[in-house]
Each structure stands twice: as C-alpha cells, then as structure tokens.
Symmetry: C2
Amino acid sequence: MLAALLLLSAFATQAQNHEQNLRTIFDEALTKGQSYPMLEYLSLKIGHRLSGSPSAAAAVEYTRQQMESYGFDQVYLQEVMVPHWVRGQKEIGRIVNSKFGSQDVNVIALGNSVGTGPEGLLAEVIEVQSLEELEKLGKKNIEGKIVFFNRPMDPKHIHTGHAYGGAGDQRVKGPSEAAKYGAVGAINRSLTLAQNDTPHTGSLIYEEGVAQIPAVAISTVGADYLSRSIKANKAMKFYMETHCEMLPDVLSYNVIGELKGSELPNEYIVVGGHLDSWDVGDGSHDDGAGCVQAIEAVRIFKATGIRPKRTLRAVMFMNEENGLRGGNEYARVAKEKDEKHIAALESDSGGFTPRGFGIKSSEETLAKIQSWSSLLAPYDLRKIVKGYGGADINPLEDQGPALIGLMPDSQRYFDYHHTTDDTFDKVNKRELELGAASMAALIYLIDQEGL
Amino acid sequence: MLAALLLLSAFATQAQNHEQNLRTIFDEALTKGQSYPMLEYLSLKIGHRLSGSPSAAAAVEYTRQQMESYGFDQVYLQEVMVPHWVRGQKEIGRIVNSKFGSQDVNVIALGNSVGTGPEGLLAEVIEVQSLEELEKLGKKNIEGKIVFFNRPMDPKHIHTGHAYGGAGDQRVKGPSEAAKYGAVGAINRSLTLAQNDTPHTGSLIYEEGVAQIPAVAISTVGADYLSRSIKANKAMKFYMETHCEMLPDVLSYNVIGELKGSELPNEYIVVGGHLDSWDVGDGSHDDGAGCVQAIEAVRIFKATGIRPKRTLRAVMFMNEENGLRGGNEYARVAKEKDEKHIAALESDSGGFTPRGFGIKSSEETLAKIQSWSSLLAPYDLRKIVKGYGGADINPLEDQGPALIGLMPDSQRYFDYHHTTDDTFDKVNKRELELGAASMAALIYLIDQEGL
C-alpha cells in the first residue's frame, strides 16, 4: 500500500514536472522564439528553392549555420542526389477559336512535366472528371487531344487535406493515364478550394513505358471558363507552350542537427520538415515553416536547459516535392546504421495554428500519446488522432517508429499551396511559434516517457 | 427490459438523426453558404458603421432585407437610442523636443474620448505600466502631464483574449484614473500582440464626476519609440490633436429575425453578433462576421427544411462598441415581455476557424452541452469549456439562459481588431462558413435536446 502510494506520488510529481516543462517550452517559443526570424531569412533572403537550384544549396547552408549557431551537439549534411527540373520561361495557355473568342488564361506547368518547347501544342480539348472516365471514352475520343481533368476538390470535407487527397490523382497520375489513350497533353484544374485566377503547380509522376506528354495546371476560375468554352464549342482548341525540362541529377543534402541524449543517446527522435519548395512564391508555408519549426523545437531544449534523455534530431529533408529522395535516403542510411528511431514528427501542412497531431503507429502507441491529452489541452492541442505522419518520414515506417504529423488548422493551406501566393506575409508569427512549441512539447513527452 | 431496449434504440436513432442533420447543416454552409457574400456586401458596399452613423442605418436596413429575403417568419426592428460619437478630422501625435528630434507618430483617438480641439495639447509625458502605479506616483508627478499607459499584452497566453483582458484596463479606465491625479491627457499602447505601426482604437469609459481628458492609442512600434524617447529626455513633450466629440443620442435599432418554433414557440434561442463597428477599416471581423454568421445559422434551418421546435432568433445588436445600448435594450424588452430564453449564442471574436464554445451557465447545463462532444468533434469543435458568452448577450444573464460564445481561433484577431486593417480581405471564406455552420449545429442540438 505504501509502495503504491509512493508510486502514485511519483507519478503526480512527474506530471507536475511535465506541466512546468511544457509551460517553459511555450514561454520560450512565444517570448524568445526564433522560428519567425529564421523563416523571414529563408523566405525573403533565399526565396523559393526547388531541388537542384542554387537557392536550395543556399537553404542547406543557411539551416546548417543556424543549427551550429544554436550550439547543437552535431550538425552535418547527408548527401543525396536529387532531380533537377527547371521551369524555363513562363508558360502560355490560350483558348483558341472558342465561341467567346481567343483568350489567354493563367497556366503553370506541373512539376516533372516535359515541355512543349517553343513550337507549343495546339489541340482540341476533352474534359473529364476522373481517371475512370478515360477508359469509357476510349482511344477514339481521346487520341490527339488534350485531356482536361476538371474534378474539383470537395468543399464538404472539414479538413482540406481530405479534399486534396480526393482530387490529387488527376494531377499525379492523370497525364500518364491520358497518354495511354493517345492524349497529347493534359490540363489539370488547380488543387484548391479557393475560387481565383492563380494556378497551382505540383508534381506529376510519369508511368514507366508510357509516352510523356506535357501537362499544366489551370486556375479554378480558368477551369470553369475553359469548361464553359468547351461546352459552347466542342471544336474549340487549346494552345499551350511550356519550356520546362528535366536536367541531370544534382548532388544535394539533407541537413541534420542533433542534441545528444543524456541517458539513451542511441535512441533517436526525429523532428523535421522539407527544405525544398516549388519554384514559385517563396515556400513559406510549404515547407519553410516546417523546417524552421523543427530547428526551433530542438533549439528550445538547448535554450531552456531541458536535457533530453534520447537524441533529438532536426532533419531538413531535401526533395519532398518532386522525388522524395531525401526522405528515402534518410531512411536507407538509418537502416544501414541500424539506428533505433522511436518517433518521427513532421510539420508539412503549413505554419498555421496547431490543433493537434495525426499519428501512424500501433494502437498502444496511439493510446499512450492520447493519454497525455490533459497535458496538451492547455495549449489547445485537442486533436490527437490516427493519421498520417508525413511524406519524408514515411519511408522510416518499416523501422518501427511512431510517425506523427503536426496538424495545423487546414483551412487556408490550399489557398497558397504550390503557388505564387505562398509567401512570408501569409504566415502569422504566433501561429508559427505555437506550431514549433507544440512540436517541442510532443517530442519532450515522447523523450521523457518513451513509446 | 423491453422498455429499456426500446428507449436505448430510440436514443440511438435520435443520435443518428442528429448526426445526419449536423452533416446537412455543414454541407449547406460549405456548398451553398451565404455568409461570405453577405459579409462582402456589409464590408465593401456599406463599410464601417459606428453607432449613429448613416452607414449603421444602412447596415440595419441591409440585414433586415436579407432576413426577409430568406423567408424568415418575422423580421423586425427594435428601437434603441445610441450614443453618437464622431472622430472628426485625422488625429495628430507628435514627439516634440526629444533627444532624437521631433517626430510624428501614428495615433488614433479612443472611442468616446473628448477631443483636444484645433489648439491641441502639449505636455510632458509620464510612462506607467499599470493603474496602481498612478497612486504611487501621486499628484506631484502626474499633474499637468500626459500619462502614457505602456503595459503590453502578455504573449505567453495561448488564447489572445486573455492577453487582451489582462491589458484592457489601461484603455477603458486609464484616462479617468489618470485624471484623478491631474493628468491632462492619456496615451495608450495599442492592445495587440503584433509589432507594427498601426494604432488600435476602442472605447474608454469616463468615470462620473472626474474631469474628462483626451486620450489616444499609439501603435506598438510607436509606443516603444515613445518609451525610449522619454528615457532619453524626461523633459520631452508630446503634442496631440484630436477632433472627436460626443453628439446627442440618435435613434437606431437592433435587427431581429425569427423562425417560429413548431412545438415550443414561446421558448427562444438567440444567435447574434453586433452590427456596429469602429469607424476605421470595415469591421469585417469585428463584428460583421458575427452578424452574417447569425443570419446564416438561421437561414440554414430554413434552407434545409430542418424545422426548429423552439423559436430561433437572429439578433443584430447595435452599439456593442461604445455603449452596449442594444444588448441592454434587448434584455430589458425580453424581461418586460417575460420571454423565456433558454440559450443565447454570440459570435464576436472574429470570423476565424471555429474551435469550440465558451459557456457561461450552470454546471449541469455545461455538462449537458459537453455530452454532445462526439457529435461536434467531426467538425473539429473540440473545445467546449466554461467561458464567457459575449457582451451583447450578457445582460440576459439574470433571465437564466445559457450564454455561449463561439470560440474561433484567436491568434490573428488582435492583429486587426479596431484598426484600419480589419477588412474583408482578412476573412477566409471557409473559416467564416465553418463558424456559421458551427453556430447552427449548436443551436440545433440545443433546440432538439433542450437545456
């Protein structure tokens, strides 16, 4: 009985200790936080940073120096060869010979797409709502045409990520699927719930052995206009001209900074984001925010003197957007070195107010993390649910760590995602800081309690 | 046993019914919602609408017509005399004779303040951090000077409303407290966590029998600069010139729209916001958002055919900002008519993503509302806590209804609050819609289940 009481009292003391440390973590982030000035540098001084670009190299060096400057125990680069896709000069999209006359519309080449070259591509357009529709239409209706994938994201989803997931196949797989039926090009309705004239890029994946056709995204307003134009005159044509191309792979790096664990230094907790961004806007939300939050989460331990038992690793993954080479390489090396990863936490859903965490793990691990709810609720982290960790940490799955995604409010993310509008002014300082503190808080609890 | 089983099955059916109706409510708001176009009209065609202004009258007429157009059972105006404060020509604030030279700084008169008139006011400045400090300094240090209240909002609060609450006494009571010690004017650090050069207005309340001194707010950047200037040269003076004045009261209105209850028409559920705004920006977040959400919440019932048992009332309260006359009059009339209000729900914290509800009620009522958590969680309404309802509904307190405040994410609210930056472009369509749907969802459950 006495033993039980002592144990109970030890638990209570421990919980109180956790409570105080979480408060310390949030206070540090909200009063002396470095995430916002770091993001300002990354976004405004370096700017967008597609894999293989000089600015991606600058981002590697900047984040390396920052982690050094904060006194992390070890900061190093992990080599990774990355694809080097370049957009070239600005795209042209033009509705030709429609009932409403000719009209230029805003388009943006999809990442990894081949270009049309200067001669451009002029063809009739056939609109579809799904990949399945292609089969029904068959070669006779599709051959020689541009396929226009126009299924919108479904606004009825509360979490916009689900709406994105429900429409994304058109962009990723659409061009190759269309090419199988003889299509000569693809136009994709931009993946956003916003109704405006800004097109959204993002990667396509060409299927091996299928003809590679050029593909562009059109804005939501443009998509509606194009759809009306086709209905009014089926003989209408579309002219697209893109100058993008895939160059040879380039040597780049994941950037890794560590705080050594005091008791279990060979157990690793990863906290990360991806350093590359699309080549428009400045990638502030996708995923500059995640990178600076990951660095900040580890910096907070150093600055507040909260000593981790296990080794904390901030990882800036390279090439999430069009290849995932960084995430794959990190996992490969971790396996090769037989490193024991107990958890990996990624922030790649924008720098908005955090609402909780999505967790991919065993039921027991999920339940254990959920058991910390009362410690996290004062910070309005109230959504701790089964979910997806993140693209860069997902390759670690077979090595067993809990894969966890920071879950910020999702409403504005796809307003900016992969566009010229993903810029620093769209990030609220406190929202960014709260995200960083939330990440630090969760890795603190994982470190202290184990998983 | 059979009876128990039947009862259990009736409960299950009812819960399923609720689940479906909540889904219907959110689908309506997210796919056919009217809150955003209503707010666009209110903000861009009518603009800011301080009590007593012609645009406040336009807002009364617009919201009346909108509720009529949606086929509410009854729409009517409730007379209320409101204060008529006018700002007059733009304020001047000037640091004079400082060590750094003279410098104009952005200031804005506090609402209800007397003006300096064209002759302006020139005096030395004494900086304080609290009302208590005034007593310590005493008349000998304060008399003839301008008191500069410079205690910042505390960034360590997670909910920014708490930070606002912790600093607001300086604005509301500061000028009269300072006047008791012979101060001739007051300058208030703007109530915001943002560090920029935009000053925030808001009302002061003059204490009866105390000399009324002119008061302005200075931006946070300006406040820091002024503080440094005083430290560098205590003999520095400040020149302020304001042209505001209080004119005679004006006849205005609360605007009320009803859907009649099918079973208990004499029980009322109020859903509201306040129609007046400060005379800068266009009052989109404070509180155009709340008004259009309240109308939308009731419209959703009408549009989806969900028939309420009790009478639902959308109320556009007039004069929250500088008098609360509308809220007081509404409560007075309700009491006079002996109307039974079971709940009142106000949205007056901005049109941001809803996170839950703050509830001022008995413990039993709070527990009952919390028992609906599993119905609300799919909409990410996960914070259902004891709290404050809202300024306009608070006067109903002694009549017994649950007073409930919609709780949107609070991080950006005080970036815009009471400034030229509170404009329509700061409102995200889906965030606004989700707030309206959340209000409809909660009044639906209250209507169906009672309180």
